[in-house]
């Protein structure tokens, strides 16, 4: 039987810590268009906002709570909700915060509003409310864009103003 070949001596490994590592970074950007069909519930809400300039919620047949934004099933009872009811256009300010949408962008005022006739709150913007008037419970009113520019998006609602 031939003897095992003698392995050639390896060069001594250089510890990685001893190497000068030039930090390199690869820059990139992921940009992928999407198309999200709004479905029957959000779709109906947005179509009515466009066509009528009004806000609607869905009422649970069991507990009678009205969800705005509408949810196809009651969040509490989990039964299907099919009863559309008009809500607002006035409501109550539940919360607000001032923050930029991105670090470099100007700060905007964001709000949670419970519309009259609704039991849950709609997230949107506050428009031109003087800071000294801001308080939880403030009466606010939906400001909807004019019919010619509405396109069936939540931005057809421009935001909420103080009543």
């Amino acid at each position: 039987m031939p003897p095992d070949p003698v392995p050639a001596p390896l060069a001594a490994p250089v510890p990685i810590a001893a190497l000068t590592i030039e930090p390199r970074a690869v820059e990139g950007r992921i940009r992928i268009p999407y198309r999200w069909p709004a479905g029957r519930t959000a779709g109906a809400f947005l179509a009515r906002l466009r066509d009528e300039g009004r806000l609607y919620g869905l009422r649970c047949p069991r507990c009678k709570q009205v969800a705005v934004p509408p949810r196809p099933r009651c969040l509490a009872c989990r039964v299907p909700s099919e009863d559309w009811v008009a809500v607002g256009p006035e409501g109550e300010l539940l919360s607000w915060t001032t923050a930029p949408a991105a670090p470099a962008r100007p700060a905007e005022v964001w709000a949670l509003v419970r519309l009259d006739g609704a039991d849950t709150a709609l997230f949107h913007r506050l428009l031109d409310v003087p800071p000294d008037r801001l308080r939880v419970g403030l009466r606010v009113r939906a400001d909807v864009a004019s019919p010619t520019v509405r396109r069936g998006a939540i931005t057809d609602l421009i935001g909420f103003c103080a009543v």
Binding site: A42, P69, W96, F123
Partner: protein, 364 residues
């Protein structure tokens, strides 16, 4: 739940930017440290669960990209794309099913590689919320206002919680933020999402964390061989709440009380104030430092009951989805060092605590 045990925990320092390591190298750091600490080798690890966010990594199926770092090749591996604390539930399920004796859990996050605010926007509902352009910080601000409007806690108490976190972090070598600021100085700092100011909102950190879990027999043999205590995971519970920002009252602790009660029942805890020695919760804001306390059934007074976020909490280091796993690692470290017998670790996912997970650790 059949008890399982946590044999070891490792984490990196959490910093603003780790340009010296790509994310799989970051994951490898904690795996290497954990294997060195426990004396385990890859052949003795039966299954691997990684925790990462595809959006944060800028790479889909981000778990596949760290398989070399975590030694997953040839093993059954899976992924949690939520906060890392939820991986505890997954790991415990894998171990209690009896097919695996050991499970490695590894979470990594490099907030510096992307733009955390813009990435957070992609989690909002595309029909009612996202077109308006909110971020995770907007949700934190809305929650803070709701919480303060309840009147149970003062504005000052929130700033004090942030000041306290920075002070605690001075003793945590892994913390991203440390400091000595008064509650007044914090309230005079730059606003982030009012009423929250800088240091009342958790930083965006680069960091990683790893845990090794095992069945109780393996854990006992390991403990005996190395002269270390067995740290059991006696309970893990989680639940998810409504998604829409206006579908739940953000100023309340949501499903957390229910999650905590389930965890206490599993672990046989009847009086959390007296029985829990240390607790680490994922507080993305100083309001959450207080609100999650209420959620797990502890009094508002931060000095009553267990040591509360003694690491400084997420307020001082928030490495993405690794943040909740770091809470577990911190509790494990303190119990292993003899700083108490029972600990609570909490993680959350979704805006301002849509989903919560609570684990109860106990030194045998």
């Amino acid at each position: 739940m059949q008890p399982v045990a946590i044999l070891g925990a490792a984490q990196t320092r959490h910093v603003a930017r780790r340009d010296d390591a790509c994310y799989s190298e970051l994951a490898f750091e904690v795996v290497a440290a954990l294997l060195a600490e426990t004396g385990f080798t890859h052949p003795r690890i039966d299954t691997v669960i990684t925790v990462s966010s595809d959006f944060s990594d800028g790479r889909t199926i981000s778990d596949m990209a760290v398989q070399d770092a975590v030694g997953a090749a040839g093993k059954s591996s899976s992924k949690v794309s939520m906060d890392g604390a939820f991986a505890l539930a997954y790991a415990a399920a894998r171990l209690t099913c009896g097919r695996y004796r050991t499970c490695l859990v590894v979470a990594h996050a490099k907030a510096s590689e992307g733009r955390p605010r813009e990435i957070s926007r992609a989690a909002f509902d595309p029909f009612f919320e996202r077109p308006l352009g909110p971020t995770d910080h907007v949700a934190l601000g809305l929650q803070a206002r709701r919480f303060l409007a309840r009147g149970t806690v003062t504005r000052e108490a929130v700033a004090l919680a942030a000041a306290r976190a920075l002070a605690y972090a001075n003793g945590n070598p892994n913390a991203h933020w440390r400091g000595a600021l008064s509650s007044r100085e914090i309230q005079l700092g730059p606003p982030v999402a009012d009423p929250l100011h800088r240091f009342e909102v958790a930083p965006d950190s680069d960091g990683a964390c790893a845990l090794l879990l095992a069945d109780l027999d393996t854990a006992r043999a390991h403990a005996a061989a190395r002269g270390v205590p067995v740290i059991r995971l006696d309970a893990v519970a989680c639940a998810t709440d409504r998604h829409g920002l206006g579908d739940r009252d953000l100023g309340l602790p949501g499903v957390l009380p229910q999650v905590a009660r389930a965890a206490y029942a599993q672990a046989g805890i009847t009086d959390p104030v007296r029985e829990i020695d240390v607790a680490e919760v994922y507080d993305a804001s100083a309001v959450q430092t207080l609100l999650w306390r209420e959620g797990v059934g502890l009094p508002v007074d931060l000095l009553a009951g267990p040591a509360w976020n003694p690491s400084g909490g997420a307020l001082c280091a928030q490495p993405g989805f690794a943040t909740g796993l770091v809470r577990v690692a911190e509790v494990w470290r303190r119990l292993a060092a003899g700083e108490g017998r029972t600990g609570l670790a909490h993680g959350m996912t979704g805006f301002v605590g849509q989903a919560h997970c609570v684990g109860i650790l106990r030194r045998a």
